[in-house]
């Protein structure tokens, strides 16, 4: 199977994630789209690792997973805290830093 197809899939997933971040208001959905972008990047790393025949990309993918896990912990905590105080999970409501 042609390795380039994995890259096309990766680009597609990344685009879906990016569009989701920009257009969705729900913080949980935005968060999931961020995860989608991270995993699209992981897919690229792994594909390039395979194309080049070494393990560098695989290693970076593991690092990305670790960082993503940490980010999920912090991010979900923030979302839950904001929801508790503002009764809303919409990212547009959390705009107090303006001005």
């Amino acid at each position: 199977m042609n390795s380039a197809n994995y890259l096309y899939l990766s680009a597609l997933l990344f685009t879906i994630g990016a569009v989701g971040v920009v257009i969705r208001r729900n913080a949980i959905v935005v968060f999931m789209c961020v995860e989608l972008m991270l995993n699209a990047a992981n897919l690229s790393f792994v594909t390039f690792s395979r194309i080049n025949g070494n393990l560098d990309g695989q290693v970076v993918a593991f690092f990305t997973m670790v960082v993503a896990a940490c980010e999920v912990v912090v991010g979900l905590a923030i979302i839950v805290t904001i929801y508790r105080s503002r009764r809303s999970a919409s990212v547009d409501d959390a705009n107090l830093l303006k001005r």
Binding site: A18, V21, V22, V30, V91, A94, L97, K98, R99
Partner: protein, 630 residues
């Protein structure tokens, strides 16, 4: 020869002035006595030094005293040294002699003034500065005195500065004097740059080697200085307003001494002017214009002090004219200066005496018939009058006649022009002085109701009497055996005695002068004795009279030529400062603030817009890299 006494001439009045200024109200009781004593002791020392000089042979008469080394930079050395030679001793005796008499007069004249002590302090300051001016042995020393008398003049003109017009007059005098002072400082700078020295002796030595252009430049700058200090055209406008000062000040500073400093400066710089014919020609032109200008202004003045001030301007014009005539003229200029010092100071004191008796009224149209009430003032003023119009054998006859004669003999068309100007000026002098006499002392009473004229006390009339004696006798004494001319010869060095080609014999010149003077007197008598004098100045007069009443539009001219363009320039500079310089600074600030507030609009607070921006930015970078690496 050296002498250790010269410094005391200056030091005594200077210390006395400092004591009077610093000791406060305690000194009110004896301040005027200390001031008078200081001036009198200076006169005593001056007289003693004069006798010492007389005892010496001609070439060893000049006395010097080195005080300290003032400036020493590389090869350039200026000592604070004093030089008492034949020229300066004339001034020393005039300044301290007339000065002492005026101090005595002021004791009585200023007795009702609360600030009499301060007045005497300023007078002493003036005496000290004026003595430094005439005793300095270099232009730099002279300059210190020159500024000192300017300061004293300013302080004394504005002595009654509670009246805003008087304070303005003081400021006007000071500012116009600054213009002249600029000339003097430029002259000193040119002399230093081209000859490397500023002492009289050094420049006299270097002058023959210097180029005519340099000497002409120095000469013109010195002339500007002289014009400023001596109220000569075109810097004459301050003298009339300077009459705001108390009358003794007008007598001492603005008639007898300070205003003649210009004549001293030109005479002292004879070695420069003799080698710079262009500058010398300008000197005679300035002198001739001023002598006519002052005389014409004097004919229309109703204020007795301003009439005398116009006359002073005109008489100094004669002196400047004489100094411009070269070696033959210097001695006559100094002679006229000395006789003028006597008769004009005497007349100013007389005017003060009249004002004292008339509740400080200065308008001559409010006087009249004062002869009977003030006989001593009348006689002393009258002797001064006879002296100034040049009736023989009074002092002015000798000195003014000499100047007219020398002017006529200057040669060619120049001599005829200058001589006619001097003769015409003499006629005008006779006219306006006769007018002053008639308006003040004869005719009908035109007094205000509360005027009670009375003769002044002895402290006032005694100085007037002494000055009147000087007005009578000094001319005769100076000319007897050419005494003054021979005395001054070592300083001003006339080339040879009988060199001039005489246009007219002296006796004819005297005759013409006297005839013109007589015509002047007769016209005045016709106008002011035969016709009644009104106590307000008539309004239906010719346009010419109106112009003369405004001092020949001197203030209008100064305002249109210098003041308004000057103000315009200032306004333009302020506008440039505000618009261009401040504008640039404010513009940069406004630009920073504006761009900041524009940029701030991108900070919406919406997470999604931030993330979109990040995305666009990242895409742009990737695109950029892709384009570059293609």
């Amino acid at each position: 020869m050296t002498s250790n006494l010269i410094v005391y001439l200056i030091a005594i009045p200077l210390i006395s002035s400092a004591v009077l200024l610093l000791s406060g109200r305690k000194a009110n009781k004896w301040g005027h006595l200390l001031g008078t004593l200081a001036s009198a002791s200076s006169f005593g020392i001056g007289a003693y030094l004069f006798t010492q000089m007389l005892a010496q042979p001609t070439e060893e008469r000049a006395l010097t005293q080195k005080l300290f080394s003032w400036i020493s930079v590389g090869s350039f050395n200026v000592d604070a040294s004093l030089l008492l030679d034949q020229l300066s001793v004339c001034f020393v005796l005039l300044i301290t002699g007339v000065g002492t008499l005026i101090h005595i007069y002021s004791i009585s004249y200023m007795s009702h003034d609360l600030d009499r002590r301060r007045f005497f302090a300023y007078l002493n300051l003036f005496i000290a500065a004026m003595l430094l001016l005439v005793l300095g042995d270099s232009y730099l020393n002279l300059y210190v005195g020159w500024e000192g008398v300017g300061l004293a003049s300013y302080l004394l003109i504005g002595f009654w500065n509670q009246k805003p017009t008087y304070a303005t007059a003081a400021k006007k005098a000071f500012v116009m004097n600054r213009v002249g002072d600029l000339g003097l400082s430029l002259a000193i700078m040119i002399a230093f740059a081209s000859m490397g020295t500023v002492s009289f002796a050094g420049i006299e030595e270097a002058a023959p080697k210097a180029s005519t252009t340099t000497l002409t430049a120095i000469g013109i700058m010195l002339l500007i200085a002289a014009a400023g200090k001596s109220a000569q055209f075109p810097l004459q406008a301050w003298l009339g307003d300077a009459m705001a000062g108390p009358t003794p000040v007008s007598a001492l500073i603005h008639a007898a001494t300070m205003v003649t400093a210009g004549v001293y400066l030109i005479t002292r710089s004879n070695f420069i002017f003799d080698a710079a014919p262009t500058a010398q020609l300008l000197v005679v032109i300035v002198g001739a214009i001023t002598l006519l200008f002052g005389a014409i202004v004097g004919t229309a003045k109703d204020d007795i002090k301003k009439a005398l001030a116009a006359s002073t301007m005109s008489q100094i014009g004669y002196m400047i004219l004489a100094t411009g005539l070269g070696p033959v003229g210097y001695a006559f200029a100094i002679m006229h200066l000395l006789t003028h010092g006597f008769f004009k100071a005497g007349m100013f004191l007389g005017a003060g005496s009249v004002m004292h008796g008339m509740n400080d009224e200065v308008n001559m149209r409010k006087y009249g018939a004062l002869r009977k009430f003030m006989p001593i003032t009348f006689i002393t003023f009258g002797l001064g009058y006879l002296a100034i119009i040049g009736v023989p054998p009074f002092a002015g006859f000798y000195s003014k006649d000499m100047i007219i004669e020398t002017a006529l003999n200057a040669g060619g068309i120049k001599g005829i022009l200058l001589g006619s100007a001097a003769l015409f000026g003499a006629g005008l002098t006779a006219f306006y002085m006769t007018r002053v006499m008639i308006l003040t002392f004869s005719g009908t009473k035109r007094w205000d109701d509360d005027a009670h004229p009375h003769e002044s006390p002895i402290l006032m009339w005694l100085p007037m009497a002494i000055l009147a004696i000087g007005s009578v006798a000094s001319g005769f004494l100076f000319t007897r055996g050419d005494a003054l001319v021979n005395w001054l010869e070592p300083v001003v060095a006339p080339h040879e005695h009988g060199e001039h080609s005489e246009l007219l014999p002296p006796i004819v010149v005297s005759g013409i002068a006297l005839t013109i003077v007589l015509i002047g007197i007769l016209i005045a008598v016709m106008m002011y004795v035969r016709r009644p004098v009104e106590d307000v100045a008539p309004e239906n007069v010719s346009a010419l009279t109106k112009i003369v009443r405004q001092d020949l539009l001197q203030d209008v001219a100064n305002e249109t030529i210098f003041m308004r363009p000057g103000q315009g320039l200032t306004k333009a500079l302020v506008a440039v400062d505000e618009k261009v310089i401040d504008g640039a600074v404010h513009g940069i600030g406004a630009m920073a603030i504006g761009s900041g507030s524009e940029l701030r609009k991108s900070q919406t607070g919406y997470v999604r817009s931030y993330s979109a921006l990040i995305l666009v930015g990242a895409a742009a970078i990737v695109l950029g890299i892709w384009v570059i690496t293609q």
